[in-house]
């Protein structure tokens, strides 16, 4: 191991952090076809993604972004903005955090949370593009399903808790308080926990 030149994230992440690609510094002069914002600075990160689309070919021709976020958020969105250029909109719509972190040469587990904002904002931007162009049928609503009736916890919140570090049922309960009243949802929640851990963290 080269201990002299060890950096906290991968070399690819370092490159993109040092020279982030496609940052949009001035929104007012950029003609975009779709814009999406996700996150919140109170949670420590916020992301905006802008896309230009070739309507005839249904291909993303340009992608720009800005963020209030950490190094992994910067690096992962930078690499994502490169990946989606020239990509069919439908395919970009299905881009997952795993695709991005793979391209980035991996991220530590606790930083996966920071890399999901980019693709979420991208989907929001594509949804915005669909809306502007009357393609409402294309929008896949990320409908949340209620899992715990008592504490009002959805499958989306369970997925978020997993991204935020929950791996055991106890940790999931700590974060969401699900299943702490009647307990009926416990089996379902445990199944979802397993599913989301596999989805995001299986190598």
């Amino acid at each position: 191991m080269d201990t002299q030149n060890k950096w906290v994230y991968s070399n690819k992440a370092k490159e993109h952090f040092i020279n982030p690609k496609n940052i949009l510094e001035d929104e007012s002069v950029y003609q975009f076809d779709g814009k999406g914002t996700v996150g919140n600075i109170k949670c420590g990160d916020e992301m905006m993604v802008f896309i230009k689309v070739d309507r005839k070919k249904n291909i993303i021709t340009d992608c720009k972004w800005k963020t209030y976020g950490c190094a992994s958020a910067i690096a992962s969105t930078s690499i994502m903005s490169e990946m989606v250029k020239g990509m069919p909109v439908d395919r970009a719509y299905r881009l997952s955090p795993k695709d991005i972190t793979k391209e980035l040469g991996g991220l530590p587990e606790h930083k996966i949370h920071c890399s999901v904002l980019g693709d979420k904002a991208l989907r929001a931007a594509i949804n915005d593009y669909y809306k502007r162009n009357g393609m409402l049928d294309k929008i896949e609503k990320e409908k949340a399903r209620l899992v715990c009736q008592c504490m009002n916890v959805t499958d989306h919140e369970i997925e978020q808790a997993v991204l935020d570090g929950a791996r055991t049922f106890y940790e999931l309960q700590e974060k969401t308080k699900l299943g702490t009243v009647c307990g009926q949802c416990k089996d379902e929640a445990a199944r979802l926990l397993d599913q989301f851990v596999k989805k995001h963290f299986d190598k």
Binding site: K42, G44, Y68, C70, A71, I74, H110, G165
Partner: protein, 395 residues
């Protein structure tokens, strides 16, 4: 590695003092077990006891009041766990006082231990702090009653440097019949600490924050105080901490303490000037910033500042690429997803905690270093603000 390497993270850990290094290299030869009766053991024992005396005298204690531990965290765990020891063999007489009072801004080793014993049924009060990080004395007075056995308040805070008035706190705590522990890891070797003057019953210190080795800490235990070991199974440290003594670490710690005694006063004047220069330099070149911690009752080497519209981990890593080592209260650097509990306890908005950077200066820092930081930092903040969603329209 960057061309220049400037270390400004001394509250995290410090480099070994050259004099400490010298003594420790020599002390590597001292391998005997201090418990052994032969020459090898007795030689090691003599070195350990000599070190104990030196450390004790540095804090105004007697030698037998110093118990060596494996770290400051172990020392804090030991003190916090004593009160609620479930063992029937335990010699700690808690006089029916099993409740604990501590503060919201303690080091995680105090907070987590407190929460753990709270989960087991102990009543624990976490005192709030004001915007500068000072505990509210009135709240302490209200929380004290005849069930409270121990109060634990840190002397100086590791993140914002705020110093508590331990002497005044001790008077209040003792009047209510409880014992007082102070975690002095960040204060020892920076400001004068005398246990008799502070009137504390327990005090924690650590080696690696004062240019000594890692893996060595100590607890001061006032002579008359009850005690219960955390690590059992040996007569070492008068039965108060089992395990063969870390002779090398103990000798290193004593030398570190000796060097602090020698250098502390002059160094404090130098570092205060550097901190003021750093503060002034940053203030002059960057807008939208806030300094965290107490303006005067604060460790002279700690400067904690929040930058509007930017996230701390990104600042930290851009600074690192320029060879400047600092730390941040941002969630993204913590491994959890929660920002600094200390900054949050002072009541600042969450985003300001996410955007905070801590500079902690040390004996090797120079005015050149400070100038270098003042030259590099504004560019980094501007760069991050240019890409920030939270700093639009303020260019």
């Amino acid at each position: 590695m960057a061309e220049k390497q400037i270390y400004m993270d001394h509250n995290a850990t410090t480099p070994i003092h050259p004099e400490v290094k010298k003594v420790m290299i020599e002390a590597m030869e001292v391998f005997g077990n201090p418990s052994s009766l032969h020459w090898f053991g007795q030689q090691a024992k003599a070195r350990v006891e000599e070190a104990r005396e030196r450390i004790a005298s540095f804090i105004g204690a007697q030698a037998e009041e110093v118990v060596f531990t494996g770290s400051g965290s172990e020392a804090n765990n030991t003190v916090l766990s004593m009160l609620t020891c479930p063992s029937g063999q335990c010699l700690y007489n808690n006089r029916g006082r099993t409740n604990i009072i501590t503060t919201a801004i303690e080091h995680p080793c105090v907070l987590e231990t407190s929460k753990c014993i709270q989960d087991k049924g102990t009543n624990v009060t976490f005192l709030e702090v004001d915007r500068y990080g000072k505990i509210k004395i009135e709240q302490l007075k209200r929380a004290l009653n005849d069930k409270v056995g121990l109060v634990s308040v840190m002397l100086a805070n590791n993140e914002i440097g705020t110093i508590q008035d331990i002497k005044a706190i001790a008077k209040i705590v003792h009047k209510a019949g409880a014992l007082l522990h102070t975690d002095a890891v960040q204060a020892i070797g920076k400001i004068p600490v005398d246990v008799k003057e502070l009137e504390v019953d327990f005090l924690t210190l650590s080696g690696h924050k004062i240019y000594g080795p890692k893996g060595i800490g100590a607890i001061y235990v006032e002579k008359g105080s009850p005690f219960c070991p955390l690590i059992r199974g040996g007569h070492q440290e008068r039965g108060r901490r089992a395990g063969t003594e870390n002779t090398l670490g103990i000798i290193g710690l004593a030398k570190a303490v000796q060097m602090r005694d020698k250098e502390m006063v002059d160094e404090s004047k130098k570092l205060l000037k550097l901190k003021q220069a750093l503060r002034k330099g940053i203030e002059g070149k960057i807008d939208g910033l806030y300094f965290n911690g107490h303006p005067t009752d604060s460790i002279y080497s700690t400067l904690n500042v929040s930058f509007e519209g930017v996230e701390g981990e990104a600042i930290l890593l851009y600074l690192d690429l320029e060879g400047i080592a600092v730390s941040t209260g941002s969630a993204c650097a913590s491994g959890s997803l929660d920002p600094s509990h200390v900054l949050i306890a002072t009541g600042i908005p969450v985003e300001r905690a996410h955007g905070s950077i801590r500079f902690s200066l040390g004996r090797e820092n120079t005015l050149e270093d400070v100038k270098y930081v003042i030259e590099k930092l504004p560019k980094i903040i501007k760069r991050l603000r240019d890409m920030s969603t939270a700093y639009a329209g303020k260019k």
